[in-house]
């Protein structure tokens, strides 16, 4: 009997029309970077160059912020709220219409499996615009007083793990609340943001309401430090988040920071094991583990630990690693050589500190950046791999004896973004959810997102919330606070 091998089932690249080079999107037009510098964005699965991207420096950012300010004062702040909502609806519909194209570009630029960009990233991005479109003319119910006002010009910096989705988390609420934006996508994944610029044109969005500038960390810092920015919204590492907090201290700028995490995924003895194993896999291997809320610390009740680990290893052997464009791929490429190096560095401390490494057997492609799904057992709170965010497909497995100990270990971290609880007992779930210090808690599921649900962290996982009414409020102020 021959085995049921799945023949390759690649999504077509033809639908993605990627230009050879991209300029900055300022004032509704693509404009050249003033100094003419550029950088390449590559496909991390093949290391092929996808496009040349303009590199924005201080002068370009100044132009973008000035353009956004003028669009805010002259057009966007004067437009009736209902009209603003119409633009958001239009953007949402265009994203749905062009979903396949966006999914392909996202996968090529980011390395994530096409199944995920097609079924998760792009539909959720459209959902964020639909959700916030509805808010545009109902801001007085957002909880910031009866006459809420926009903040003005918002600088937004997004990460490379969910490029279009993070863009939508940032831009949709900002525009619904009446702000204009200057957004910087990550250096390794600028393409869907630039494609989104085309969507803004297609939707007839007034020039300058959305500006997209591309570059690296220096570009980001210049945006943060621009004096005419009213708010910074950042998603990324805790390290950079702290730097932003320092640089905006003693200014009038407000900030939302979505930072790192080291989420505990707690499996109690009375859990549905098969579904818990699915949840563990989804928690850490979804998007190659490049997820700030990934369930990267598995806490197993000691009396079921061996059984669950055995089931988990069997399940991990089924994970299909490889070509992200193949519709059957479960785990794609690591986003960059730099990230792969970082994942390996921290993982190696696991070996050095005496944890037991196990990786699923899989053939990794020779080109591109790859990492087999990996778990470490025998991990304790004192291990670096139990404390630091790895941001890759690497799971640390710890055990606990009692529910109280599970909570204590789960909370014993500098982070507090998310947590998972697996139990068939409702009372235990509610009890644990009350005790866990994390912004998002999933029970009997993991990595579920909805635009109506606020997302954000405790402690070093960040400030503020994104999504829902709480996220929207971060882009509004009550009238009394506005400087006359």
């Amino acid at each position: 009997m021959s085995e049921f091998e799945y023949a390759s089932a690649p999504e077509s690249k033809e639908i993605a029309k990627i230009a050879a080079s991209y300029d900055l999107f300022i004032g509704g037009k693509f404009v050249k970077a003033k100094k003419g510098k550029s950088f390449d964005t590559i496909n991390p699965a093949t290391e092929e160059v996808l496009a040349k991207i303009a590199y924005a420096d201080k002068l370009d950012i100044d132009l973008a912020v000035k353009t956004a300010r003028s669009a805010y004062t002259k057009i966007w702040s004067k437009m009736p709220a209902k009209e603003r909502g119409k633009y958001l609806y239009r953007i949402a519909r265009i994203l749905q219409e062009r979903a396949r194209e966006f999914a392909v570009v996202e996968t090529l630029d980011n390395g994530k499996p096409i199944r995920e960009s097609r079924d998760t990233d792009i539909p959720l991005a459209a959902a964020h615009f639909f959700y916030h479109a509805g808010w545009a003319d109902k801001l007085e119910y957002a909880g910031v007083g009866s006459k809420p006002k926009a903040l003005g010009v918002v600088g937004q910096i997004i990460p490379w793990n969910f490029p279009l989705l993070m863009l939508s988390w940032k831009i949709a609420p900002a525009l619904a609340a009446g702000n204009t934006v200057v957004l910087k996508p990550a250096e390794t994944t600028p393409l869907t943001a630039l494609l989104f610029a085309e969507v803004c044109q297609q939707a007839g969005l007034p020039d300058g309401v959305v500006n997209i500038i591309t570059g690296d960390g220096i570009t980001g810092a210049a945006l943060v430090n621009h004096p005419d920015i009213n708010k910074i919204a950042f998603t990324g590492s805790t390290e950079v988040g702290k730097a932003i907090a320092r640089s905006i201290a003693a200014t009038n700028k407000s900030a939302t920071l979505e930072l790192g995490g080291k989420a505990a995924n707690i499996v109690f003895e009375d859990a549905a094991f098969d579904e818990a194993v699915e949840g563990i896999v989804n928690g850490i291997f979804f998007n190659q583990g490049h997820v700030c809320c990934a369930g990267s610390r598995l806490l197993l009740q000691e009396n079921i630990a061996d059984e669950v680990v055995e089931k988990l290893k069997k399940r991990m052997s089924l994970i299909r690693v490889g070509d992200p464009m193949d519709k059957n791929t479960d785990l794609g490429a690591i986003n960059s050589a730099e990230q792969l190096k970082r994942i390996k560095e921290i993982s190696n401390t696991g070996d050095a500190e005496g944890a037991q490494r196990w990786s699923a057997e899989c053939k990794l492609p020779t080109k591109g950046f790859w990492m087999a799904p990996t778990i470490f057992t025998g991990v304790s709170q004192a291990h670096r791999i139990a404390r630091e965010e790895i941001f890759g497909p690497v799971l640390s497995v710890l055990t606990f004896r009692t529910p109280a100990e599970a909570i204590e270990k789960a909370n014993n971290t500098m982070y507090g973004l998310s947590a998972g609880i697996w139990s068939d007992k409702g009372s235990k779930i509610l009890w644990a959810a009350q005790k866990l210090k994390a912004g998002v808690i999933w029970s009997n599921t993991f990595n579920k997102f909805d635009p109506a649900s606020p997302f954000g962290g405790y402690k070093e996982s960040g400030w503020g919330r994104e999504g829902g009414r709480h996220g929207l409020a971060g882009y509004l102020t009550s009238e009394s606070k506005v400087k006359k």
Binding site: E3, F4, Y6, A7, S8, R115, D274, E275, K327, T445
Partner: protein, 311 residues
């Protein structure tokens, strides 16, 4: 012996099984349904699915003529293409077993087993004496596979040992003459926890196969139900070293549906189960869709329904 057959030992065993989370198992089945099976793997899957079909007719209007026609179809599903494998079995009521066996033997289908539905199929509402006689009739007529139904009433009333005992009795009648498939009618058991429990009761009582449904009640072989049963045979194998087969029946009508079932098998019980001796699909209309898809793969275009035989 894992259980001694007493109510208590069965209950203890079943209570130790982990629960099934409805949302989680349905999400897993939905995800596996997105697998894209193309080209060479699709061709392989179509032939595998054909060889797994339990070609079924279970109508009050069944006649010898109808059953004989079905036998011809079972042996040579596509008379214009002899590379098409024959099906897994013919499945009929016990009074048609003799006709089916004789016809198959006559037309070159000696290798195709005849399965008989039994134990007062489909409701299972009869005395044990009747159920035994039903099974004996089928065995005497030459059935080598018995598809019995469990007593859902007893199961839902909590009389687990009664369900267990009935299966054991029928298994003893089958002896080494026939394979026993145990039908749960999952549409009447309703919850996934019940499906998992029924699976283990049947396996512990000696089932060779566990089967979703009679085909007379909807919903029948839904993907999550089959997934739970595949997990059960996988776990039972880990526990005992015995490989028990799975047979979804009812509602699988298209090639797409059948391939989704094979994906569930491949990624749950594992590739060892991808054989007609461990996985069957109870169906009637499915076979023609498989044949049409096979023709399409060979010729590159779809033929009209008149190019496959109607029986």
């Amino acid at each position: 012996m894992i259980v001694d057959g007493s109510e208590k030992s069965l209950k203890d065993f079943l209570d130790d099984l982990p629960p099934v989370d409805q949302v989680g198992v349905e999400a897993r089945a939905t995800m596996l349904a997105t697998r894209s099976i193309k080209t060479t793997s699709k061709a392989w899957a179509i032939d595998m699915a054909i060889s797994m079909v339990d070609l079924t007719t279970l109508e009050g209007a069944d006649t010898p003529g109808k059953v004989k026609a079905l036998c011809a179809k079972a042996v040579r599903p596509d008379p214009t293409d002899l590379t098409v494998p024959s099906v897994g079995a013919i499945c009929v009521y016990n009074d048609m077993v003799k006709v089916a066996r004789a016809e198959l033997d006559l037309i070159g289908g000696k290798h195709i087993p005849v399965a008989a539905v039994s134990t007062a199929f489909p409701s299972g509402r009869a005395s044990m004496e009747v159920k035994k006689q039903d099974t004996l009739d089928a065995l005497n007529a030459g059935a080598t596979e018995i598809d019995m139904v469990i007593d859902r009433g007893a199961f839902l009333a909590g009389k687990i040992s009664q369900v267990f005992e009935e299966i054991k009795i029928i298994k003893e009648l089958c002896g080494n003459k026939a394979h026993l498939k145990v039908i749960f009618e999952t549409g009447e058991l309703v919850t996934y926890d019940n499906v998992r429990k029924a699976s283990f009761i049947a396996m512990l009582a000696g089932a060779d196969f566990i089967k979703t449904s009679t085909g007379k009640v909807a919903p029948a072989a839904t993907a999550p139900v089959v997934l739970v049963m595949l997990e059960a045979v996988r776990d039972y194998f880990a526990l005992t070293g015995l490989k028990i087969g799975v047979k979804p029946a009812g509602g699988i009508r298209t090639t797409k549906d059948a391939i989704k079932q094979l994906v569930l098998v491949n990624e749950t019980a594992g590739p060892d189960w991808l054989t007609p001796s461990l996985f069957r699909i109870g169906a009637s209309a499915l076979l023609n869709d498989l044949l049409m898809q096979r023709m399409k793969m060979r010729t590159g275009h779809y033929a009209s329904a008149n190019y496959v035989t109607m029986d």
